[in-house]
Symmetry: D2
Subunit: 313 residues, 4 copies
Amino acid sequence: MAIVKDFIWEKGIKVHELVSAYGNIGFQSIELSKAADLIVKMKKNSAKIFLTFTSNMVTSGLRGFFAQIIRLGMADVIVTTVGGIEEDIMKAHGEKFTIGRFESDDVELHEQGINRVGNLFIKNESYMNFEDKIIKILNELYQKKKRWPVSELLKEIGLMLDDENSILCQAAKYNVPIFCPAITDGSFGFHLYLFQQKHPDFIVDVVKDFGNILLSTSHDEKKAIIALGGSISKHHAILCTLLNGGADYALYMTTAHKTSGSMSGATTNEAKSWGKVKDDSDIATVIGDVTVMFPLAMIKAFEELDSEGLLKK
Amino acid sequence: MAIVKDFIWEKGIKVHELVSAYGNIGFQSIELSKAADLIVKMKKNSAKIFLTFTSNMVTSGLRGFFAQIIRLGMADVIVTTVGGIEEDIMKAHGEKFTIGRFESDDVELHEQGINRVGNLFIKNESYMNFEDKIIKILNELYQKKKRWPVSELLKEIGLMLDDENSILCQAAKYNVPIFCPAITDGSFGFHLYLFQQKHPDFIVDVVKDFGNILLSTSHDEKKAIIALGGSISKHHAILCTLLNGGADYALYMTTAHKTSGSMSGATTNEAKSWGKVKDDSDIATVIGDVTVMFPLAMIKAFEELDSEGLLKK
Amino acid sequence: MAIVKDFIWEKGIKVHELVSAYGNIGFQSIELSKAADLIVKMKKNSAKIFLTFTSNMVTSGLRGFFAQIIRLGMADVIVTTVGGIEEDIMKAHGEKFTIGRFESDDVELHEQGINRVGNLFIKNESYMNFEDKIIKILNELYQKKKRWPVSELLKEIGLMLDDENSILCQAAKYNVPIFCPAITDGSFGFHLYLFQQKHPDFIVDVVKDFGNILLSTSHDEKKAIIALGGSISKHHAILCTLLNGGADYALYMTTAHKTSGSMSGATTNEAKSWGKVKDDSDIATVIGDVTVMFPLAMIKAFEELDSEGLLKK
Amino acid sequence: MAIVKDFIWEKGIKVHELVSAYGNIGFQSIELSKAADLIVKMKKNSAKIFLTFTSNMVTSGLRGFFAQIIRLGMADVIVTTVGGIEEDIMKAHGEKFTIGRFESDDVELHEQGINRVGNLFIKNESYMNFEDKIIKILNELYQKKKRWPVSELLKEIGLMLDDENSILCQAAKYNVPIFCPAITDGSFGFHLYLFQQKHPDFIVDVVKDFGNILLSTSHDEKKAIIALGGSISKHHAILCTLLNGGADYALYMTTAHKTSGSMSGATTNEAKSWGKVKDDSDIATVIGDVTVMFPLAMIKAFEELDSEGLLKK
């Protein structure tokens, strides 16, 4: 049985060394260390990795990290919410988000045309510039065909972008499908609606896209979930793997707790109830803010996989 | 300025008396008391009320309460997630959910064909019976037309049900639209997909439905949100009221905190940044489990509105 | 196995009826309903009840409720923190606390001489008046003897007060000892220090008081804990019952989660590891704000015990 | 205004580089980055630093880190709870704690003589060995004098230990006082009680020790608080700095939220209400598990202070 070890700082300590040390500290540091090991295990066992995240993480600087994850071959399927897609497109067109405070004066921000997401700020202007782009994009898509499953539409948009830090761009380039089960739940939805008013034969086919995610994997393939935060992005990946016989590996990272029966707080023990997950080394739940926790676990996994030549070049 | 008052139990104390007393106790009890007052204010000022909840609340016994809320005229628009819709239909067909434990042995539950949602249990059998129903329902709908906005489809299903405690049934009866922006994110989605495989011209038109929720209210009308839990149901209602000039009243009830920048934990102060909410009496955020908190606030509002003849008969 | 039941409001519903209904709703409402049953069970089985709470609950209007609980014979031993003792004394001398807002401007409050505890306000003046009283009290105590175990000192103070809503007063009257393991951790500690400067032979004997709590019960007696919030008040009661063979019943009510290994978030499953608690009907953990949750559970228990004549008259 | 930057992993990234990058990511990562800057600021401005932590952190491997912090001159006053003191002594005598699971079978653990603290395990044997030591220690102390303020007693114990990773040992060596306002709230208290039974003139003088912490700083000196977790350790440091005119810098790191009015969840905005804290650069609140968060912030500060020669050699 592993032993609690006194942690001592050594000058110039690297992230992967700290995450290793976490494994002998206690509480969530141990769970975080397990998470890193689990990511390595997923990859070594050639599981198809479903990475899910909510839009606030794309608002944050994790966006470029997700793009890098795709590039390095550590995500095979993405599920997210539409806000993140909008913001990825904004940033790909040069919009800058700024750092503010949780305790801002929201009335004052409103007067300045600033929208707050926690301690991050997005200007109204960024949304307006996005609108200009999206109208052109929809026109181009409509020229190609009238009926679009969501993931195919997002791939087309990704192909129009040229940004190494863009999730959509990199996903399109590396053939990683992006699913977004509630595509209308944002500014994007409003513009789809306006476009359809002019072009009634324009259809976003969410039902067809359910088939796409369902067929993105199979019963025979090993399947892994890395769910960051909760919401439908997490649920959708679980649902898809469940219909394919259940996930073999599941890592949940969230601030939500299981006590209110919510999807956001549901634990990986559920994964066991699916009957596929075999033992405790195949699941991990880390409670904490993803912007701090996820880079730590992922960097540790990257370093280890890299040293074994298991990252895509 | 209101004073903290020592609370004393009196035999036979009623719920609305306790919630009144909460207003002078402290911490979340005060916020809960404000929530009750805010619900009364929404109604008295004839606001259009958007009620949003997540599917775990329909798993719980709040389902019948939501149906009653519709019946009594306290919800004009519903936004929810598809799991809740499935379970409402199951229960309308007589399925029973049982009460278990948070700390169940999930491997054992799996062997018994039981699915756990927190401390509630749903049998696989209930899902199988649901599947039988849904196939018939889709066939009937397809006879009527090929292209369905989600809320219209849900209304048709509601009209097929006969259950005073069914959300879909009562909503259909009282002309309250139900929006579900991620209709495919559940067992329902799987059956839509199978159906579309046989009938490729069958279309679920989420874009058209965005127009429906957008036009369910207007800039001129007063608008109120009661958001229970987070997720896209909360976000969708906020988005719709925002596009109509902003909500006048906003009550959020959740276990999530604002510290991770998530939608679930976003506070009503945001409502102020929209520029419509005028003062503190128009917003309330209650932190706590909805299954305990919401009945308390709503019952207090019901008793008060009833005594003034403001509930629908 | 119990079944989830649709909850329906009936006009004039009483608190104990709602808490009964909670038992068939879901998530924390079920745990709250179990908590009420557990309190009844403790009393029916004649357990010695250790009630613990933190000082913020005495800041709130729960103070009078705790006094009533003592009066009705539902608490045999109290453990709390010194802030609550100070505020109980303030209120017994007529000080009024007011209701403010969580989002107050703290700089402005400071200028107004107002101290904030969440959404409650305490004036500096109340502290100053307390100081006048406490100096007189210490002088009186010193006349009687020089070396005081904490609980004996608190009893003496209680006997000097005349307030039906005072915890100290009612506890003294009904011979319920109040333990406070960190008596110096507040304004009270500062005045003890100033007093001892003048009277070096004045001693507060915390070690002797540990003997007092230890001997307040025995291995033979059935023991129950109702721990509201965390901190040392919770820990001290657990420690004392543990040294007496372990608690037979344990109810924890808190907003803290177990995931960081803290005392505040430690669950009642620990009670099982003590080896005394026999089955699940003997423990309950309710996650939520005590100011809302505790009155609900306690009122339900009061009504049931009262109908069976088990409350002290 | 700072800009959100896409984070990209670079091979071999160091901890302090990651924490710098956190400053441009979002949500708690930004607050964590501020925390690191604040620690540097405290030190550069020669503030007297009050470091507080709860006993579960000493159960964890942070114990050696705290000892190192003392050695490097980054803590001038320590406030903690008695459980941590007991465990520090156990470990200094060679006891090993092991790593288990949050979801352990507590009944089984009890049969094996294992005590669980979150996902860490402590053997009964370790407690028994501790008891042997403590009896000898108390005898030695009693030979020296009969009346002991807590911090003086803890310093004597520290001087008896020889362990570079021991908090008590290093604190004694470097003249850093350790305050523990509830010294009886643990196994230690039980042995103090047994000892006093034999030696009634043995006194632990908590009142005198309040004077010691009060005089450990002054109005003129700059004062800083690093409060890890909540409980009385946090409160005691705040109280002492408040009585000395208020802290100039305050860093709170906790999993608790402010919504229930608890001390654990109280924010650093309170520090502003004291009237000493001047602006936002002087306070920081980080929400998250201390075992992950604190090493990150402290390592970043260490690296920066070390490069400027500001760490004690």
